[in-house]
């Protein structure tokens, strides 16, 4: 077990994890998930918000078992390898707001960093602007770090505190069993299920859940983080996490070629728009929020699984942010950015910059 524990912390370990994700996600797309969206943490959190009726965007409502698997897999790995560390109390309200605006930025672009990579690996050139925005946002975050910005210390807490988000996820799964999807029906009991659009496109439940669990385990072990990859490169000139991210990109590209899912171009890409500036701007906001909060949306789920209550608050902020994004017409669609998406992105940037400037330790 120690050998496995050490393996995932090595360069070979992180590359293997990136490659496994890069193969499994396009496979999920082949099995039913939306185009260039084998996995998208932002989109899938948004679908969950819709699935439980927090927003009524009819085309994006489905409780995504992959997200449930991410959290429960990380919890399982943390217990098996004795890394479960219940902790909380590092500026929870700030983390909620960061999660909120990270989601709004991601939905202006239409994807989390994982999906930005999968979009690129599927041939969607618009993803380049999103990835550049992500780098720019994380870079701004590193400037704040160099000037003493941090969200403060957390505290060790009761085991039960770290269980709360995993239990919420388990609750969502149980709800899916109590109110299963009924073909061609928009509602099953209290849950919503899209009958058209991306929310209606999904791999079979148990395959999604199983792959989510596997990813939850290996990502908890390896600390895989897309934002961290960029941050560590810019801040420390370290390429450890970046090696994993590049492995993901290469593996996803090859898998897409094998599965005939690679379609290069800018126009008519699945669940994407061509407004370069806001593909860039949305991800500047998201990247800055991820950087300040210490992890990309996937990493926040894995940390929540290993007992980090602050990461759990970030996740809840993302889910609530997704609900607002659709209720307030902030989210983009293939037609372009939402009616108030640009205004929300600018407000989000001001808020995140305010957090960066004001949360600095004196020494």
């Amino acid at each position: 077990m120690t050998a496995w524990k050490n393996f995932f912390a090595t360069r070979a370990g992180i590359i293997s994890v990136g490659a496994v994700i890069g193969i499994l996600a396009p496979l999920l797309q082949k099995l039913g998930n939306p185009g260039n969206m084998g996995i998208c943490v932002a989109c899938f959190d948004r679908d969950i918000a819709g699935g439980v009726g927090l927003h009524r965007g009819a085309v994006v409502q489905y409780i995504r078992p992959e997200i449930i698997g991410f959290v429960l897999g990380a919890l399982l790995a943390a217990y098996v390898f004795k890394e479960y560390r219940p902790r909380a109390g590092s500026a929870p309200i700030v983390r909620f707001i960061l999660g909120f605006f990270a989601m709004i930025g991601a939905l202006v672009f239409l994807g989390c960093p994982w999906r930005a990579l999968f979009r690129l690996a599927g041939g969607d050139g618009n993803a380049i602007f999103g990835l550049l925005g992500l780098v720019a946002g994380v870079w701004i975050g590193t400037l704040f770090f160099k000037n003493g910005c941090n969200l403060g210390r957390n505290q060790t807490t009761y085991d039960s505190v770290g269980w709360l988000l995993p239990l919420v996820m388990l609750g969502f799964l149980i709800l899916m069993f109590i109110f299963p999807q009924i073909p061609d029906k928009e509602q099953s009991g209290i849950l919503f299920y899209s009958v058209k659009g991306p929310g209606s496109q999904h791999a079979p439940l148990f395959i999604s859940l199983g792959i989510g669990l596997v990813m939850g385990v290996i990502c908890q072990r390896s600390r895989f983080c897309t934002m961290g990859a960029i941050r560590d490169l810019l801040l420390f000139r370290q390429i450890h996490l970046l090696a994993g991210v590049m492995a993901l990109l290469v593996a996803a590209f090859i898998t897409n070629l094998v599965l005939s899912q690679f379609k290069p171009g800018f126009e008519n890409q699945p669940v994407a728009h061509t407004m370069e500036l806001w593909n860039f701007g949305g991800m500047v906001l998201a990247g800055l929020a991820f950087a300040l909060a210490g992890g990309c949306p996937g990493r926040q789920l894995f940390m929540a699984g290993e007992g980090d209550g602050d990461a759990a608050v970030f996740v809840l902020g993302m889910i609530v942010g997704a609900a607002f994004a659709h209720n307030f017409l902030l989210a983009s669609s293939p037609k372009g950015v939402g009616e108030y998406g640009i205004a929300a992105t600018i407000i989000g940037l001001i808020v995140c910059l305010g957090i960066g400037f004001t949360m600095r330790s004196k020494n």
Partner: protein
């Protein structure tokens, strides 16, 4: 010169950032870094190796790690 960095309770990238800042100040000697997650422990050890510091022991107590690093 001996120094201690207390990075307990701080999230990424603070433990590595504080460790590297202190390394720049003391350049050689012994540096003790306190962290409370395995992620931070691995990150600090990786950063230390990149700066030519050697691991001189990691002690675990009640879920916290005391990492001793040496150079020169």
């Amino acid at each position: 010169m001996n120094s201690t960095v207390d990075a307990r309770g701080l999230s990424c990238p603070q433990p590595v950032l504080l460790t590297l800042e202190t390394m720049k100040k003391i350049t050689t000697g012994q540096l003790i870094v306190l962290v409370d997650t395995d992620t931070s422990k691995e990150n600090v050890l990786r950063a230390a190796a990149s700066q030519g510091w050697q691991e001189a022991g990691v002690q675990e107590q009640a879920g916290e790690y005391q990492i001793t690093l040496k150079k020169g």
